[in-house]
Symmetry: C2
Subunit: 430 residues, 2 copies
């Protein structure tokens, strides 16, 4: 662990630097597979499923029988947990529904804004040993609330041609309309172009390895939107003597176990707290199953002492953490002043894992500094804001002149004509 005392603000950007990755090597592979899927459809998906997942499938779509089978395999305890989480996520995202916003900006000029669902949504859920069924909840629940017509989920099959039952259980529970056994680049390419088995979608959500990340980026060049740019997960905790060191340590470690590239930062106005957290980390890490991963992430972690809350807040806003835990005597100061963070957790009894699973907030959040300019996934991520306007004769009489003057000043005569013709007709009638 790197302990840093009162760093000067000129050094912050160096201290807070995130690791950068080059993706040039991967890009060539991703582009090739995209071209092949675009051209050959299912044939190419089948080829790469065979290469990467080691299986040849007759049918890519998960059948109703397989879902029934999956439901039977899930323990009641896990079902209860998933249902509680789903219920909280549903409540929090349902509350984000917005009404039509309607304004008569000038007499006779009626403008309104409405959000309408993106019609075709694609969800990508990685396979492997740790099945991210929680991410299914986080993406499918708001997509269903938004009213998206097609919610397609792709996840790679295992060697037996199956998808993890917890993923199937969650997908079925949350209104996914089609589950496809396809993973990696070929799945993203399939949802980008559409194949015989994989529907084309308008926006792709979900995490993945570096191949999936690059594939999602490439998909944007073919007119598909994506949830947000990807990066390693990160947590910044600000804590002082009011915090319980064991809790802070457990939160930092829950971030560290995600991957060796996870970013873990503690900022504190208390040197005692920093030391106490450090020793708690050492004792807690020893018994973790993912100890090897956590140790590497912790080795790169930073424990930063600063003089006061004002400096701390400035440093935190410069970093823009994905997850931000506040546990101080001065919580409101941080809550009010934080501008750049994905999701904020307040107080001793609010661990990050609550938001990861079950409190109701979304866990798909901007990382890698993107909290400065991107929202986390929320109901609006599945909708588009559209505007409407209806102008009466009175209305065009009121604003017509202004439009004409501005159009001429911008050199756009036909824009003016569209108004002039209407004004002339109204005047001729009067």
């Amino acid at each position: 662990m790197n302990k840093i005392y009162s760093p000067k603000s000129e050094t912050w950007s160096e201290i807070l630097k995130r690791p950068t990755k080059t993706i040039d090597d991967i890009e060539t592979t991703v582009k090739e597979i995209f071209k092949e899927v675009q051209k050959k459809g299912d044939e190419a998906v089948s080829k790469y499923t065979s290469i990467f997942d080691g299986i040849i499938l007759e049918d890519y779509e998960v059948s109703q029988d397989e879902i029934v089978e999956a439901i039977a395999l899930i323990s009641d305890e896990l079902k209860d947990a998933i249902q509680l989480a789903k219920s909280n996520i549903y409540k929090f995202h349902l509350a984000q529904k917005t009404e039509r916003i309607s304004v008569e900006t000038t007499e006779g000029v009626n403008c309104w804004q409405e959000k309408r669902p993106i019609q075709k949504i694609g969800l990508y859920i990685p396979g492997g040993t740790a099945p991210l069924f929680s991410t299914v909840l986080m993406l499918a629940v708001p997509a269903a609330i938004a009213g998206s017509k097609e919610i397609v989920l792709c996840s790679p099959p295992d060697k037996n041609g199956k998808i993890n039952p917890a993923i199937l259980y969650a997908a079925n529970l949350c209104g996914v309309t089609k589950i496809i056994k396809a993973g990696g680049i070929q799945a993203i390419a399939g949802m980008t172009f559409g194949t015989q088995s994989i529907p084309k979608v308008y926006k792709i959500f979900g995490p993945g390895n570096q191949f999936v990340t690059v594939a999602k980026q490439l998909a944007t060049q073919y007119g598909v939107a994506i949830d947000m740019p990807a990066g390693p997960s990160e947590l910044l905790v600000v804590a002082d003597d009011s915090a319980v060191p064991a809790f802070v340590a457990s939160d930092l470690l829950s971030q560290a176990e995600h991957g060796t590239d996870s970013q873990v930062i503690l900022v504190s106005t208390s040197k005692e707290l920093i030391d106490a957290v450090e020793s708690e980390i050492q004792s807690q890490i020893a018994v973790l199953p993912r100890k090897a991963i956590a140790e590497k992430a912790i080795a790169n972690s930073k424990l930063i002492y600063v003089e006061n809350d004002a400096v701390a807040l400035q440093l935190i806003n410069e970093y823009g953490p994905e997850h931000f835990i506040i546990c101080t005597n001065n919580d409101d100061f941080y809550v009010d002043g934080i501008y750049n963070a994905g999701s904020v957790f307040i107080g001793n009894y609010t661990p990050e894992s609550a938001g990861d699973y079950a409190s109701g907030t979304n866990h798909t959040l901007p990382t890698n500094g993107y909290a400065k300019n991107y929202s986390g996934v929320n109901l609006d991520s599945f909708m588009k804001s559209m505007t409407f306007q209806k102008i009466t004769e009175k209305g065009i009489l009121n604003i017509g002149k202004a439009i004409e003057v501005m159009a001429v000043a911008e050199g756009l005569q036909a824009h003016k004509n569209a108004v002039t013709l209407r004004l002339a007709q109204i005047e001729a009638r009067e």
Copy 2:
């Protein structure tokens, strides 16, 4: 003009195809200039301003004196027009402000969502003969309402080292905090990396030529967000016998004068209306100053007859027009059923140019089919949605078990520990 009668739905995608452009040649140039600006800052900006704009500047920032000078150069008529437009844009975007959304998802689990401004905004406004001061209004007004701290505007200087006075007048009126005389790739690169004269920003908005478009795309690889992907402007009108042919023709022409690649489509259930609009276009186009441009766009335009409103709506949703004018006996059917459009204009007295300038809606809209998955610029474009949560002891007792079960099922033991430690402490105390 291409008249197409009752096209079969299999042929729609071909008929509605937009032209695609390759950008590979430009990309190399853009990447080089980015690298140079990243490395050399103002020196590189100066070099390329000299090459592309033909001028060497002492100072890039527009001075207060220059603004005073610009204000004096604008006619009262244009000032009045701009102020009316600003007032309507302000009202419509102010109404889009949202309150904190707060939900106690489970007893003791308090979650809320708040929108906070993106702190640093960059606006790009092209130079040239047609000064897009209207775009300044469309971008600076909502940025100021959002509460963005820095609103930087870049626009290329003319041969005399000046920016068009209407742009300066609008920028000053709408709360732009800094106006920089820099254009093209070097301006976008400057706002991406920051130079001595150009502040680094978090999100870049605004139109531009193909160099600017590619530069904005490249900026996203350096952590900067952009408003939306670009493409040629487009208008689709659906009209029947209730429409005035001269008005429809004038709307189609106001789109056509934007550029030779503008997309202009009329869909109608009336063959008579199609013929009448066609002849109106011919007479109106003859007297347009931008006739040469409009003629090329009109030559590629499509007038499509379909049997009924249901088929028309399906075809329009497949196309996803940027601008969509509805002028029929059945307007509500289209208003209710349109899912893919940027902005919708309803009735005989609602020309597209109203929304381009002065009705209050935003004119920065998704084109090129992006209406299927992107919103037009609105107040939220300048904000980020952040979530907060505060959980009480009672709250973590209520959801702790679910988190533990889910974390274990995902193989993330440290995520479980963060809850287990807290539950143990509460239980020990009781």
